[in-house]
C-alpha cells in the first residue's frame, strides 16, 4: 500500500467479518463506510472451514461518526446478515505483531 505513510496511524481501524458466506456482505459493509466518509485501504478474505473471514483496513480520518457508532452500525448489519462484524483500533493488532 503506497499510501501507508500518508495516512494518520491513529485513525486506522480493522474491520473483521466472520461467519457463513452470504450475498451482500461486502456491499453492506462498504455502504456503511462510504455513507460515513470512511475510506477503505485494503480488503482481504479467506475461507476457513466453510466460513468466510474478511478483513478490511479503513481510515477514519475524515469520518463523520466515531468508532463506537461505527461499531453499532456494523454490528446491526452483521445481525441482519447472520454474521459477526467488529471494528477494532489498528493498534490492537500492530502492537501485538510488529515491534
Amino acid at each position: 500500500m503506497s499510501e501507508k505513510n500518508s495516512v494518520s496511524q491513529k485513525s486506522r481501524v480493522i474491520i473483521s467479518v466472520l461467519g457463513p458466506d452470504t450475498v451482500g456482505i461486502i456491499a453492506g459493509v462498504a455502504n456503511i463506510l462510504s455513507d460515513n466518509k470512511i475510506n477503505i485501504l485494503d480488503i482481504s478474505q479467506t475461507i476457513i472451514q466453510e466460513f468466510l473471514a474478511m478483513v478490511l483496513i479503513a481510515d477514519m480520518e475524515k469520518s463523520t461518526i466515531d468508532l463506537y457508532r461505527l461499531k453499532e452500525l456494523l454490528a446491526q448489519k452483521g445481525e441482519e446478515l447472520g454474521i459477526r462484524i467488529d471494528v477494532q483500533h489498528e493498534d490492537a493488532f500492530s502492537f501485538m505483531h510488529r515491534i
Binding site: M1, K4, I14, S16, L18, D42, S44, Q45, T46, I48, A53, V55, I57, L67, Y68, K71, D86, V87, Q88, H89, E90, D91, A92, F93, S94, F95, M96, H97, R98
Partner: protein, 452 residues
C-alpha cells in the same frame, strides 16, 4: 501492512482462547490522608480515591471497545492502611475499611486492595491495630482486600506475625461462616511482597511508589494452552520457544492498553504484571496447560518441572514485550479459580504437598485452598511458615490464601461464585505443629541475604 493471518490470530485469541486484560489497577497514595481524628482521615481518603479514580471504569470500558479486548476488572490499590491508622488516636481501624468500601462502590470498582500491614521484622502500634481488625473489616465490607507481609529475604520470618495470622485467618472464616468463609478469600499472607502488584487480593500501593499510577495485569492461560497443543510432539526447546512467543503477544496487549489507560487518566504508567491468571471458565486454566504438555493430570510426577518451564518461558517472552515489568509476574495456581486444578484435586492427582512444591517454581503460593473447618490456628500458622520459608530462601514472593471452611470436612466444597470460584476441601497432615509455631520471635534472615 498486517496480514490477514495475523489479524485473525489476534481475533481468535480473544474470541476462542479467552485472552483478556485481567485488571487495570490504579495505585493511589494515601500518605497525605493521616489524621489523629479518624473521621477527618476517612473523609480525606474518600475524597482522594473518588477524585482520582472517577474516570477509571469509563476509561477501561472505552479502551475495551476500541481495542476489542475485554478488560475484566478495574481495581484500586492504596497505601497500606496500617501506615495511615498509625496516627489515629481512637484505635478504630474498621472505619477505614468501611470508607474504602464506600469509595470503591462509588467509582464502580469490584475490589480495593491495601487493608494491609508490613510486619516482616516487627509490629508498630498501627500494624497491631490493623491486623487485629482484619476479620471484622473483611466480614463487614464487600470489596476490601487485606494483606500482611510477614517475611522478607532481608529480614527473615516474623514468627509472631505468622502465629497471629493463623488466628486471624480462623477468625475471618468464622465471621463469614454463612458465606463459606469468604473473608479468607480476601486475605493474603505474604513473603517478599511486591509493592506494585495489580492482582487481588494482594494488591497495595507501596511506600516507594508515586502519588498515583496505573498497573496492568494481563491474562491468557487459554492462549498459551492452544499454542502448547499445536506443538504436541515437539521437544522442550520448541515448547519453550512457543510459549515465549505467545507470552510476548499476550503481554504486548497489556502494554498497549496500559499505556493508553495511563495517558487518558493523566497518571504515569507503572508496570505490566506478566502473570498467567486462570479463571473458573473451561479453557482458561493453568492446570490445563500443564496437562497439554503431556501430563495426564496436573499434580502427577513431572508437574513441578512442567510448571517451572512454563513460568520461565512466560517471563522470557513477556519481558521483551513490556518496557516495565513488575508485580508478581509468574503463573498463578489458585485451586478454586482454575477448573483444571479443581478436577485434579477431585481425581486425587493434586495434594497440598504437591501444591507446596509447585509454589517453589512459580509466583504466588498456596492460593485459594479450602481446608477442613476444624483446622487449628496453629496448623494454619505452620502452613504459612512453610510457604514463607520457601519465599525467603528462594528470594521470591510467596503467599498463602487459605480458607478453613466453617463446618466443612474433606470432600465438601466451598462455593464463592464469580471469579473466586469453588474449591474442594483438601486434606491436611494430622500431626501437630503447636510447639514449633508457639516458640515466638523471628527466624533470622538467611545467609544469602548478606549481599552488600
Amino acid at each position: 501492512m498486517l496480514t490477514i493471518q495475523e489479524i485473525l490470530e489476534t481475533i481468535k485469541m480473544v474470541q476462542e482462547e479467552h485472552l483478556d486484560i485481567r485488571t487495570i489497577t490504579m495505585g493511589i497514595s494515601l500518605r497525605d490522608c493521616c489524621d489523629s481524628d479518624v473521621k477527618r482521615s476517612c473523609a480525606k481518603i474518600y475524597d482522594k480515591i473518588t477524585r482520582l479514580a472517577v474516570n477509571l471504569v469509563d476509561v477501561g470500558e472505552d479502551l475495551s471497545r476500541e481495542f476489542g479486548i475485554p478488560i475484566v476488572n478495574k481495581r484500586i490499590s492504596v497505601t497500606p492502611i496500617a501506615l495511615i491508622a498509625e496516627s489515629n488516636s481512637s484505635g478504630n481501624c474498621v472505619e477505614y475499611a468501611r470508607t474504602l468500601d464506600r469509595a470503591a462502590s462509588e467509582v464502580g470498582v469490584n475490589f480495593i486492595g491495601g487493608y494491609s500491614a508490613l510486619v516482616h521484622k516487627g509490629f508498630t502500634i498501627g500494624d497491631k491495630r490493623l491486623i487485629a481488625s482484619i476479620p471484622e473489616a473483611l466480614a463487614e465490607t464487600e470489596r476490601v482486600c487485606a494483606s500482611v507481609n510477614v517475611a522478607t529475604t532481608k529480614s527473615g520470618i516474623n514468627m509472631d506475625a505468622v502465629y497471629q495470622m493463623g488466628s486471624v485467618v480462623k477468625k475471618a472464616a468464622e465471621l463469614t461462616a454463612d458465606r463459606d468463609g469468604l473473608g479468607c478469600a480476601k486475605l493474603v499472607v505474604f513473603a517478599n511482597v511486591p509493592e506494585d502488584n495489580p492482582f487481588m487480593a494482594g494488591a497495595f500501593h507501596g511506600v516507594g511508589e508515586a502519588e498515583c499510577v496505573i498497573n496492568m495485569g494481563v491474562s491468557g492461560p487459554g492462549v498459551v494452552k492452544s499454542a502448547v497443543e499445536r506443538v504436541k510432539d515437539a521437544d522442550f526447546g520448541t515448547l519453550s520457544e512457543t510459549i515465549k512467543k505467545t507470552a510476548f503477544k499476550v503481554t504486548r496487549m497489556g502494554e498497549l492498553v496500559g499505556r493508553a489507560a495511563a495517558e487518558r487518566l493523566g497518571v504515569p504508567f507503572g508496570i505490566v504484571d506478566l502473570s498467567l491468571a486462570p479463571t473458573p471458565a473451561v479453557g482458561d486454566s493453568v492446570a490445563e496447560i500443564i496437562e497439554a504438555m503431556g501430563l495426564e493430570r496436573c499434580g502427577t510426577h513431572g508437574t513441578t518441572a512442567a510448571l517451572a518451564l512454563l513460568n520461565d518461558a512466560v517471563k522470557k517472552g513477556g519481558a521483551m514485550a513490556s518496557s516495565y515489568v513488575g508485580g508478581l509476574s509468574g503463573a498463578f495456581i489458585p485451586v478454586s479459580e482454575d477448573a483444571g486444578m479443581i478436577r485434579a484435586v477431585e481425581d486425587g492427582a493434586l495434594s497440598l504437598d504437591k501444591l507446596e512444591a509447585m509454589t517453589c517454581v512459580c509466583s504466588v503460593g498456596l492460593d485459594m485452598i479450602a481446608v477442613p473447618g476444624d483446622t487449628t490456628a496453629e496448623t494454619i500458622a505452620a502452613i504459612i511458615a512453610d510457604e514463607m520459608a520457601i519465599g525467603v530462601i528462594n528470594q521470591k514472593t510467596t503467599a498463602v490464601r487459605i480458607i478453613p471452611a466453617p463446618g466443612k470436612v474433606v470432600g465438601d466444597y466451598v462455593e464463592f461464585g464469580g471469579l473466586l470460584g469453588r474449591a474442594p476441601v483438601m486434606a491436611l497432615n494430622g500431626f501437630s505443629s503447636c510447639e514449633f509455631v508457639a516458640r515466638g520471635g523471628r527466624i533470622p534472615a538467611p545467609i544469602h541475604s548478606l549481599r552488600n
